[in-house]
């Protein structure tokens, strides 16, 4: 068991070091840039995508189609699904015990961005 511990620990640190070195020098993931030509999505359209397998969320002004990611989300479905089809910035900013999501989550979220939330007419 001592040998198993030593070997697995050494391999672990070797892999962590590899991921750190390559990750550090690699370009960051290319987030979908909120270009000027980005599609404007009205609140009504957003609201039509309120199902677990067809889930859009408006977060920080952007609209994100997170249907594909939802099964991967670590929280149980009843925590996340109610925010489908809605403005979910507050929930995103105050997850467990009021803390915001991490920078990594921000980067991941950007990959699901499909447009901007259109401002509602007064």
């Amino acid at each position: 068991m001592r040998r198993l511990y030593a070997c697995t620990t050494a391999v672990f640190w070797l892999l962590v070091a590899t991921v750190a070195i390559v990750g550090h020098w690699s370009p960051a993931a290319d987030p979908a840039s909120p270009a000027a030509a980005e599609r404007l999505i009205p609140v009504a359209e957003l609201a039509r995508h309120a199902l677990p397998d067809d889930c859009w969320m408006a977060i920080r002004g952007g609209v994100h189609d997170v249907s594909a990611y939802l099964p991967e989300h670590p929280s149980r479905p009843d925590v996340v699904v109610p925010w489908c089809g809605r403005e979910a910035t507050e929930a995103y900013e105050t997850k467990t015990r009021g803390r915001p999501h991490s920078a990594q989550a921000d980067e991941l979220l950007a990959r699901y961005r499909i447009g901007r939330l259109a401002a509602e007419k007064p």
Binding site: P27, P71, T96
Partner: protein, 419 residues
């Protein structure tokens, strides 16, 4: 041996259930294979650690149910190391999942910097498990220091559950956290602090060889129930003319009296047991047990007992309990005359019991030639063999017995080690 037959599968099945339960709850669907693997490994490691916590409890009823403290500790170690390997692979699998597309995201997933407390707690837990296991394997550390460093593994388990809570997974984790805290608290209060132990007082202390003292203990309340071949955990405290170390150490019972008094043979093997050689009458002690099933359920066939040094105590306890009911040969090995604990008494017992044949051998400083000391193959064919002594001696004897055609189910031994 009872633990080797009736209970052989109890602990593995229990551990399998403890790993499979959380995995089934969190079984991912529709995710990439690596991400699914990472999630499964994390939950399996978590479940195995909880199973491992159960196996560290020292309760007589639990040890009987699970086949003995020796089996529990063996599986406690195995479950701990398998859980550790699974938990090392858990973050790597999650990070490598993003690797082909974005190596930078893989590092961001893994990195303890720039991530929230969920990832930081995961790292802290993993580092504590790494540190705790490293000290677990450092058997040269003094037992007192080793024990406290080993406890860092328990904190690692709690931090790992904190990592899950920070991820927002509260539903199964809060009960698991309560269970882990209960098991750790139980171990600390009942076993380490001695709540499960009974109060005794030292009534005699008799040197029986160089560096070996036999301590007689009288119960001050209800006595522990012990059988020959079992061991008890005893902590000696401060009393008249003696400052005890207060740690629980395992000692084989060498005698069981009708009034609940017991005697234990203590060999100077470490700081505490060396200090115990000068123990005085009147010192308070606490006794927890009894544990073990060595010599239990012995068949009526001819027997071979092989004892090395202080390993003679379980056999002595049985001989002191009354005459034998089956022909028995006791091969007693010791280094020299000064180390031959209990030899005059064993000779007297052999002279009084026609079923007991005693073969006492001074082996000197070099390892004895077991092949010449053990009976020939035809003589061993129908014997049950019971071995007690240093691990190297037990291993050598098992090898000779195996070569002479004795099957493992006829060889009984206990290699108890608390580390």
């Amino acid at each position: 041996m009872v633990s080797a037959t009736r209970f052989r599968l109890t602990i593995p099945l229990l551990l399998l259930a403890s790993a499979a339960g959380p995995v089934c709850w969190a079984l991912p669907s529709g995710l990439s294979p690596l991400r699914s693997l990472g999630i499964i490994l994390g939950w399996a490691g978590c479940g195995l650690l909880l199973g491992s916590l159960l196996l560290m409890l020292r309760e007589t009823w639990l040890s009987r149910w699970l086949g003995g403290l020796e089996d529990m500790y063996r599986w406690h170690h195995r479950a701990g190391i398998v859980a550790y390997v699974a938990l090392l692979a858990h973050p790597l699998a999650l990070a490598v999942d993003s690797w082909p597309e974005f190596p930078a995201v893989a590092w961001q997933t893994l990195s303890p910097f720039g991530n929230g407390w969920a990832v930081r707690l995961g790292w802290l837990s993993l580092l504590l498990l790494m540190f705790g296991l490293a000290t677990t394997f450092a058997t040269r550390l003094p037992y007192r220091r080793w024990r406290w460093l080993h406890a860092s593994l328990g904190i690692g388990v709690l931090l790992g559950l904190g990592h899950l809570l920070q991820l927002g997974i509260e539903e199964p984790v809060l009960p698991l956290l309560a269970l882990a805290t209960l098991l750790l608290g139980w171990r600390f209060i009942r076993d380490d602090a001695g709540l499960a132990a009974r109060p005794y007082i030292v009534r005699s202390a008799t040197p029986v060889a160089d560096g070996v003292v036999e301590i007689g203990l009288q119960p001050l309340a209800e006595a522990v129930v012990a059988d020959p071949g079992q061991f008890v955990l005893v902590a000696f405290f401060t009393g008249p003319g003696f400052r005890g170390c207060g740690q629980f150490h395992p000692f084989t019972v060498s005698s069981i009296g009708t009034g609940g008094e017991i005697r234990v043979g203590v060999k100077a093997l470490g700081d505490c047991t060396r200090h115990l050689q000068s123990i005085a009458v009147g010192v308070p002690a606490r006794v927890h047990g009894a544990f073990g099933s060595f010599l239990a359920d012995r068949p009526a066939t001819t027997q071979l007992w092989l004892a090395g040094g202080i390993g003679v105590t379980p056999f002595l306890a049985l001989l002191r309990a009354g005459p034998l009911s089956q022909p028995t040969t006791l091969v007693y090995l010791y280094r020299g005359a000064a180390d031959a604990a209990y030899l005059p008494e064993l000779r007297a017992l052999a002279a009084a019991d026609r079923l007991l044949s005693l073969q006492a051998h001074a082996t000197g400083e070099r390892p004895p030639d077991m092949a010449s000391l053990l009976p020939a193959s035809p003589d061993l064919a129908s014997r049950e063999c019971y071995l007690c002594g240093p691990p190297a001696m037990v291993a050598a004897v098992r090898e000779v017995l195996r070569r002479r055609g004795v099957t493992p189910r006829h060889i009984h031994f206990e290699n108890f080690d608390f580390r």
